[in-house]
Amino acid sequence: MGLIVQLSYVIILSYFQKNYTVLKEGDIRQRQEESISHVSAVLSISRVAASTLLCHYKWNVSQLHDEWFADEERVRRTVGLLSRPVFFSSAKELTCGICFDSYPRHQIHSAVCGHPYCTTCWKGYITTSINDGPGCLSLRCPDPACCAVVDQDMILRLASDEDKEKYSRYLVRSYIEDKKKTKWCPAPDCSNAVEFEVGSNVYDVTCLCSHAFCWNCTEEAHRPVDCSTVNMWIMKNSAESENMNWILANSKPCPKCKRPIEKNQGCMHMICTPPCKFEFCWLCLGAWSDHGERTGGFYACNRYEAAKQEGLYDEAERRREMAKNSLERYTHYYERWASNQTSRQKAIADLHQMQTVHLEKLSDKLKEPESQLKFIIEAWQQIIECRRVLKWTYAYGYYLPDHESAKRQLFEYLQGDAEANLERLHQCAEKELLVFLGNDDGDTDFISDFKIFRPKLAGLTRVTRSYFENLVRALENGLSDVDSQAASSVSVSSKNAGAKGKGGKAKSSTSRSARSGARNIDDLTHWNCDRCTYANPDSLTSCQMCHNRR
């Protein structure tokens, strides 16, 4: 499935060059080895020293070369690659600088600097450092005044197997994490990394594990919506702020203890939960003991009305009302975002099922090779990709400013068209295909029915793709078509031109259903343009919108 989903990307992004490389763990290690060999050869230093230098210079070989040849001494000093020891002793016994015990010479180890520490203390020092994190890649001599590096050889000689494993993982990680143009694939359990061609502006990448993500923000792929919108949207979905808005809209603070109180239904006599137990009126938030016949009854609490007239409650009331409206608006977009996400997951599962089970059976029944049934797979790939795009357009829609009404109209028009076509395609792939997957062999209509089905599904796939391409293109250029005053030239996307014309012609009819209703007129006085589907009066020979000839 992985490869297939990736292929669907290639189809969608066919007009872009692939601008990234997926690196497996083996590839990463190989590249590291190559860099180390190269540096070691060019600078005439040991491989271990080369590795130390590369870690320090974040695997940037050319920067390392430049600085080394400009001032080798300075580089050696900063990195801690001393060329000679700083501590000498000819004594037979040496005192370990950590545990202060004396040891015979052969039980004492040192980094290049010569500071003496015993085996046990070195092991403790190295273990502690490895377990503290990637800082172990630039471990220095324990002596506080010494900057000598503790090299990889020494660490691997003294560390436990478990720690060696951790150390080598940090080394691999440093290659990916320290560099600007590489990142890990964020999918759980995936150990691949992606190297990105800096300067490219299409950030969607697909890992070999089939996870498609945005290289820039590492969220899942969200073209054509930009990273900041996606980020805002994700923050919003998880944010406590929505709960806060809900509390604001549906609850009031207890007038005594100030805890928020939710009222479902029922009478206005509220009793706060213990220990507060304050009894009050929901409407006026006054003490219940003040209420009764005198105040005009609870449901028309005149104290509330009076207070409202005096302007006492206006601010809080207005905030509650606003919160309620904004919550409804958010819910609208969120539901559509989330249900497209669910549909997409379902479609991925369906495609998998199709590839692993149904396709073979169908090919047997029809006596056709599977390659002839590729159009079914393509349809599902298209559905999966479109669900993804559509999902993110709801995040886009949520943040489209209200005052940009022309843009909003164009956006909703394009989104509506794309969505309607996707629904038809999805319905066709899901429901109509079902008929052919049953066990009713020997049905004479089977093959002839399939002959009708084939062009229908393929056609819907093609049409849906082009609608989504329009949508993606329009969102990527910021719906700027509505700004241009120039007459619609043929080179402009036909759908956009159509929307523009409509906006100008029928300003009063803003609802989408009204517009799409007009477009789908099927009677004989109209003809639908093949290119942009606009319903033209019969009298015209070329399309009013895109000038396509009938």
Partner: protein
């Protein structure tokens, strides 16, 4: 305040005990300005600090409390002033000290003496008896008995 965290602390390892005994022997001849208060507790030392003559803290004495973790000296000891702590731009009123060698820059080759000398030099170079600017905020955050070793310190100023 730190009692709670010491009670849950694990006993010293063999290595830690041996090393501390060696350090303790050295303290028969302590660094100038310090006095170790003798006790049976090897895991918690109390050390008296006297401000160096000619500095802002001359003729003042303070108590340092040093708690050793199980894996001392691989891990740094926890060092705080027992309140009242000296007024100093890097010392909080709860006794926590902002000094890199106590946290990130600790090395097992350092000792209690070397820490003490660093702290005294930090006091001596102070030019004003002031609390850190975020003192109240920080002290408030530590009210639940948080150890200074759980703090992420920023060591931005090496002048004082």
């Amino acid at each position: 305040m730190t009692t709670s965290s010491t009670q849950t602390r694990k006993a010293l390892s063999k290595i830690a005990q041996l090393r501390l005994q060696k350090e303790l022997e050295e303290w028969h001849d302590p660094p100038v300005g310090f006095k170790h208060k003798v006790s049976d507790n090897l895991q918690r030392w109390t050390i008296e600090v006297s401000g160096a003559p000619g500095t802002l803290y001359a003729n003042e004495t303070y108590q340092l409390q040093v708690d050793f973790p199980e894996h001392y000296p691989m891990e740094a000891p926890q060092v705080i002033f027992v309140p009242p702590a000296p007024a100093h731009p890097h010392i909080y009123s709860n006794g926590h000290i902002c000094l890199d060698i106590l946290y990130d820059s600790w090395s097992p080759a350092m000792t209690v003496s070397s820490i003490c000398i660093s702290i005294l030099s930090m006091l001596s170079s102070s030019t004003s008896k002031q609390r850190p600017p975020d003192n109240d905020l920080y002290v408030n955050k530590c009210r639940n008995g948080r150890s200074p070793k759980e703090t992420r310190w920023w060591f931005h100023d090496d002048k004082v």
